[in-house]
């Protein structure tokens, strides 16, 4: 590990030392193409998984594909545009009003999270969506994810030494907590992802780590407490997890497991899943990984996990080489965000942990989620774009 890390660093140092020459920017094209590839793969899988239901309920096999494709194109454009802007503007006070954009975002997210609780559309017993006429519904918690990444990275980079003490960590937490609190009311799993982002950024920044282990222990205890003493439906989720084949709430997970186990080594071939034919409810959403397993087999499933690992590796490289700590911590936040979602999603689909609704980044159906993720990737790419070297 150390060896490779050194190599990466020396690689860039060498580039820098190769003076004299023109200043180059280390724009991470691998990450750009990797992201675009995952989005494309997502569209293919969304078409595969949703065409049956789309035909059945909307008379158009490409109903979901079209909607997602529009968001994908929009999101990719946003990503590229964002990546061209210097990320440092985010914490640079705006002219005239002298307020940092990150603060504006913070206030905006706060407002939207409150708004969604008031006017939110109630879908399946949870208010998570705001209906925007003509565009569709929008999930403010996705914007909150961006905000949490940028805000935490800002707070941590502003005074990194503070985080060596628990006081500093609490200070960051106090500022971020209101957003997480507003999310947790309606969406426990997203709140969990947000907490992971905050924790990872702080953890990476801090030199002293002892109390973080305490926080991890506390976090685990909190999760257990929520599950054990929480609302009834969460307790029954535990039952469903343990008795997935018999519990009525285990239906969706069980159908996913059926899909995974019938994939075999090489899969049934793209488009040949049977479980997507009405057995897995909304197989193009959170459960899409199970259909990937069924159609592409073990090889496909492992390949996709490796793609994600590669993507995380690129973010790691950006974080390590970023021009300043803020840029590093943004890359760390994005990395934490994607890693948390991938791990939780795959763990849920394989019934490794109790069921909770987290989409698979870039692949699962969902416009807000995709655009928000691509926006974050844009910022991360923007960080890479600020890395300079000479030829």
């Amino acid at each position: 590990m150390n060896q490779r890390r050194r190599e990466t660093i020396t690689e860039i140092e060498q580039n820098v030392r190769r003076v004299p020459g023109k200043v180059h920017r280390a724009y991470d094209f691998s990450l750009l193409f990797l992201t675009a590839f995952l989005v494309g793969l997502g569209l293919v899988m969304i078409y595969s998984t949703s065409s049956y239901n789309a035909t059945k309920y909307y008379g158009d096999a490409t109903f979901f594909l079209k909607k997602q494709a529009i968001f994908a194109v929009f999101g990719l454009v946003v990503m590229i545009l964002v990546s061209l802007i210097d990320y440092r503007y985010i914490i640079h006070p705006l002219p005239v009003i002298k307020i940092r954009p990150v603060s504006v975002l913070y206030v905006l997210c706060f407002a939207l999270q409150i708004l969604v609780l008031v006017v939110g559309e109630d879908i399946k017993g949870a208010k998570r969506w705001i209906e925007i006429p003509g565009i569709g519904s929008f999930q403010p918690s996705e914007l909150t994810k961006i905000c949490v990444v940028l805000l935490t990275a800002y707070l941590a980079s502003r005074a990194p030494k503070m985080l060596n003490k628990i006081r500093g960590f609490v200070g960051v937490l106090i500022r971020v907590a209101p957003l997480i609190f507003l999310v947790v009311i309606e969406n426990l799993s997203t709140a969990l992802v947000l907490s992971v982002i905050v924790f990872v950024i702080c953890f990476v920044t801090s030199k002293k780590k002892a109390y973080y282990w305490g926080v991890v222990a506390l976090g685990i205890a909190a999760v257990v407490v929520v599950f054990v003493f929480g609302e009834g439906f969460r307790i029954s989720r535990i039952d469903a997890w343990l008795n997935v084949e018999t519990h009525p709430l285990g239906y969706q997970t069980l159908q996913g497991l059926y899909a995974i186990s019938s994939g075999g080594f090489l899969g049934k071939g793209l488009g040949n899943s049977v479980q997507k034919l009405g057995f897995i409810p909304e197989s193009h959403n959170d459960m899409i990984f199970s259909v990937i397993c069924e159609e592409m087999g073990l090889i496909g499933a492992v390949a996709i996990l490796l793609l994600f690992l590669f993507l995380l590796w690129r973010l790691f490289v950006i974080a390590v080489n970023a021009p300043d700590l803020y840029g590093s911590l943004i890359a760390v936040g994005v990395m934490a965000h994607i890693a948390a979602q991938v791990v939780i999603n795959v763990a849920v689909v394989t019934n490794t942990i109790p069921s909770t609704g987290i989409p698979l980044p870039f692949i699962s159906y969902g416009g807000s989620s995709l655009v928000a993720l691509l926006f974050e990737m844009g910022i991360a790419l923007g960080v890479s774009n600020q890395i300079e070297y000479r030829e």
């Binding site: 075999g264 397993c293 890693a339 394989t350």
Partner: protein, 583 residues
């Protein structure tokens, strides 16, 4: 301005390491689910996706000894509709109404019902089904099926039995040989979506049905139908409740005919025949009553009912006596018309007595006191030893279900009176078939036989996979006793009480019997005759049993002529040559 420091890079590396570890764990989990642990779940998934359509196997046929088909299959079809595959509902309704001659409301209700599959009509003739198929209507399914068909209708109904709605054997040979006849149903597996729609182009696996094995029986359509004719004639002439005729080969137990009139139509086994319905109005025919009557109609009294064999049993008594040297052909008997046994005076059927007689005369006269004497001399131990050897304490083992067991006294309970009555065939019960089977052993030289119908089981490729013969242990009865018995029984027919069974040109042995049914003095009798031919080397043994005849009821008077009528035709038919004048 801060830069990322080395310890922070190390921290980040730790985070990355944790993520990689988690990814490896998840890959392991996915691998476990997809490869080693997939069997159970994948099977459950397969069950969930597969729709199984059964293709019924054709049942094996039943043949008579000459290859005539007694039980056959008729191709029929089942017409059903699948609601969500129907595209032209009105046309479907119209075509089905027209072709199946059903009323519109009935069809409409089924076509419009939102079920996965709805049966419209079963047992539809193939031509009609083909006509419907020709319309190629979406959502209309035509499934082929077979229905059991008995070309001879009621012929040998008590033997063949019939099958139920799933072509499973219910009675007779159909149930006894169900294992061999039924074949194996095939199936077509198709894949279906969660909404029950079949998925086109999905690999269908098909298991071809295996036609059942056919069975070849010893029945002879000609003998069976002739026997049925004369039984029916006797039934009508004597207003009897039941007339049975069994024709068998005494050498190997092959049954040529087993008649038990009134028979019933095997193609309509649940319809009461007129005889059983007689005198009952429809409203009196409650379901319970109907079931009771059907059970009576289906009952095979030759094997399911026991009776007191009466005088025909004297054959067995004499055999036991000869075998135990308590009787010789030269012995003389005196009959005063009765015999005093213990404190009882048991009468002969001829009240004035037969006077002095040899053993041959005693059996020709069917003299009860003589046989009481013979039984007394032999003793119950010896008598039972012979009975047991002749199989009277066990079932004959005939290949039909529902055979009754004999009802015998326990040896230690048999006192003088019981021994006397047993000697002339009273106070115990056996089935007619047991008597025939025992008598066969007596006259065939002492070989035990098992009465049976099925001689061969042939698979669908025409290869014999099992053969059955009824020949058992030999030496049950000595050759001398057997010969004496054949000789004296021939005299019973040529000169004695069995004279009415005499057919010119043939040597026939036999014995009459008249049994009074229980309770005594009810005026209900069973008249029977047991005969065989040729007397010297019996090739056929037959029994005529007339249950509850009106008027004349002596076996010699009413059953023996039926035997003559039977032998007149059957003996030449079986190729038994007429002998030159024997006396």
């Amino acid at each position: 301005m801060h830069f990322i420091r080395t310890f922070q890079k190390r921290n980040l590396l730790l985070v990355l390491f944790v993520v990689i570890l988690a990814a490896i764990v998840l890959m392991g989990r996915v691998y476990y689910l997809m490869v080693p642990g997939s069997e159970h779940l994948a099977k459950a998934a397969k069950n969930l996706h597969e729709r199984e359509r059964v293709i019924k196997a054709e049942r094996g046929r039943i043949y008579d000894r000459n290859g005539e088909v007694l039980a056959d299959n008729m191709p029929v079809c089942t017409i059903s509709v699948i609601h969500n595959q129907i595209t032209e509902a009105e046309k479907v309704i119209q075509v089905l109404c027209e072709k199946l001659e059903l009323n519109e409301d009935y069809v409409r209700k089924r076509v419009e019902k939102k079920s996965s599959i709805e049966t419209i009509k079963t047992n539809v003739d193939k031509e009609v089904a083909d006509a419907i198929r020709a319309y190629e209507l979406d959502g209309v399914m035509v499934d082929e099926d077979y229905r059991r068909f008995y070309p001879y209708g009621s012929l040998a109904s008590k033997v063949l039995g019939f099958t139920g709605s799933d072509n499973q054997g219910i009675l007779g040979l159909e149930v006894k040989y169900d294992f061999w006849l039924k074949g194996e149903n095939g199936k077509i597996l198709t894949m279906a979506t969660a909404h029950g729609m079949e998925i086109p182009d999905m690999a269908e696996s098909m298991v071809t049905p295996v036609t059942g094995n056919s069975i070849k029986t010893s029945l002879d359509v000609a003998i069976q139908s002739y026997a049925e004719q004369i039984s029916m004639k006797a039934l009508e002439a004597k207003s009897a409740k039941n007339v049975s005729i069994i024709v068998m080969n005494p050498q190997n137990g092959e049954i040529y005919a087993l008649v038990n009139v009134p028979e019933y139509d095997l193609n309509e086994p649940y319809e009461l025949t007129e005889i059983y319905k007689a005198g009952l109005k429809d409203e009196e025919l409650t379901p319970e009553k109907k079931t009771e009557l059907l059970n009576q109609m289906w009952r095979n009294s030759c094997i399911s009912d026991t009776y007191e064999p009466g005088s025909a049993f004297k054959i067995i008594t004499a055999t036991a006596a000869f075998e135990h040297d308590s009787l010789e052909l030269g012995h003389n008997f005196y009959c005063p018309g009765y015999k005093l046994v213990a404190d009882r005076r048991i009468r002969c059927h001829k009240t004035q007595g037969h006077g002095s007689q040899t053993f041959t005369e005693a059996i020709m006269n069917s003299c009860n006191p003589a046989f009481m004497e013979i039984g007394g001399r032999t003793g119950i131990e010896n008598m039972y030893e012979t009975f047991r050897a002749l199989g009277l304490f066990e079932k004959t083992g005939i290949d039909l279900p529902g055979e009754a067991s004999s009802i015998m006294h326990k040896a230690e309970n048999v006192k003088e009176v019981e021994l006397a009555t047993i000697s002339f065939g009273q106070s115990f019960q056996i089935t007619p078939l047991q008597l025939m089977s025992a008598t066969s052993t007596v006259i065939n030289g002492g070989t035990k036989i098992t009465p049976h119908f099925v001689t061969e089981i042939v698979n669908n490729a025409g290869v014999t996979i099992k053969t059955v013969d009824g020949i058992g242990e030999t030496g049950i009865v000595s050759a001398e006793t057997s010969e004496i018995m054949r000789t004296v029984l021939e005299q019973v027919v040529s000169e004695g009480t069995g004279h009415n069974a005499y057919v010119e040109g043939f040597s026939i042995g036999g014995k009459t019997a008249t049994s009074e049914k229980l309770p005594r003095r009810s005026g209900k009798y069973i008249a029977s005759f047991l005969g065989f031919a040729p007397a010297k080397n019996p090739q056929v043994i037959a029994m005529v049993i007339i249950d509850e005849p009106q008027g004349q009821y002596y076996g010699g008077t009413i059953a023996a002529p039926v035997m003559a009528e039977l032998f007149e035709v059957v003996l030449p038919y079986l190729g038994i040559e007429e002998e030159s004048e024997i006396k």
